[in-house]
Amino acid sequence: MNALGQLTAVVAISFAAAGGTYFIKGPPKRTYICDPATLKPDEICLEQIPADAKILWVDARQRSQWEKSGLPGSVLWNLDPAEDMQAFEAEIVPKILENPRVIVYCGDENCGLSHEVAKRIRALDLGAQVSVLRGGWQALVDAGRIKGSSPAS
């Protein structure tokens, strides 16, 4: 068998194995896995938050996304040009006084907005402990914390 034939055989076997795995096990589960060793100083993994912890959740996604699939009890604070930052500040101050443990989440790990929003909440100088959820909203979905989602196995 020449090189081309052998290459064709390798490709065919690879595709057959991949196809068989997909057929038997289904599509890959893309559950977000948070590694605490890779966290930035102000980040936290969902698994590190005790289930009964009293948290003020802040959704840094767009208003329409928050209205559709925000974490129950969360407040909105994004940096959309159409939004009023001072209204966000005024709304969150009394909530932080009631509950100074704040966690901000964005769409996914790629979204840097949650860090920017966390910085602004810290700048309010209310003594709040502010963290950013690594993995963002996707991590909450994978954990079954968003309405309509179920924990990924």
Binding site: Q6, L7, M85, Q86, E89, V93, C111, G127
Partner: protein
């Protein structure tokens, strides 16, 4: 068999190696105070020997829009283009760092081939420090001061202070007219929690800097703060 595997690995390596050559991967812009948007152009060339398709660009914020050379997304070997990032600064001030994730060819959804960085320095025309003055419940009602400072080279006057609550008295002092003010805040009742929102109105010509906001709170100290006290 060795030859086949070598070809296979060489092909795989080529697939992963193809990226666009950008003249600059990061840009820094000093934005004027009176503009609402800034634009950064990232010029690139496909110096690989195979076509590259930009499948997605993700600026991670609705405040940044990205356009690639009038919609052209596939670049043959030797072809050049420009990625234009337009940043809406309406709700930003100070130093802002933005990243633009660039997904090429068959990049997985969480691993972009390239990341462009945009740093924008936006002047803070009116600085308010601290944003919040705080008192513990039952403590002495001592006045506390919020500093209002105007950026160097500008003259901006504080025209009014509007408080949302009668629970605080507010006195505006002029340290240097058009340059530096002090807002002295005193709570009236230290036995009940209270929140005051203070709107600091100015004659600043730039709309987004015209009104600033600060807070006064009388509250029970948090457990962490209580523990931190000697």
């Amino acid at each position: 068999m060795k030859q086949a595997l070598a070809i296979w690995f060489a092909l795989a390596a080529l697939i992963h190696a193809a990226t666009l050559d950008f003249k600059e991967m990061s840009k820094e812009i000093n934005a004027p105070a009176d503009v609402l948007t800034v634009t950064a152009d990232f010029e690139f060339t496909n110096n690989s020997d195979k076509p590259i398709t930009i499948t997605k660009s993700d600026p991670g914020c609705s405040c940044v829009s990205v356009q690639v050379s009038e919609g052209k997304l596939r670049y043959g070997p030797g072809e050049s283009g420009t990625l234009r990032a337009k940043f809406d600064m309406t709700n930003f001030s100070g130093t802002v760092d933005k990243m633009i994730l660039l997904f090429l060819n068959d990049d997985p959804a969480d691993k972009p081939s390239q990341i462009l960085k945009l740093k924008v320095n936006i002047p803070v025309l009116v600085g308010v420090e601290p944003k919040t003055v705080k008192w513990d419940l039952g403590a002495k009602a001592e006045p506390k001061t919020i500093q209002i400072k105007i950026i160097e080279g500008q003259t901006i006057h504080v025209t009014a202070i509007k408080s949302s609550s009668d629970a605080f008295t507010c006195v505006l002092k002029t340290v240097a007219d058009g340059r530096h003010y002090e807002l002295v805040v005193t709570p009236r009742d230290m036995n009940a929690p209270g929140i005051g929102v203070f709107r600091i109105e100015t004659d600043c010509k730039v709309q987004k800097h015209k009104v600033q906001q600060a807070f006064g709170v009388v509250r029970k100290p948090s457990a962490a703060e209580t523990a931190a006290k000697p």
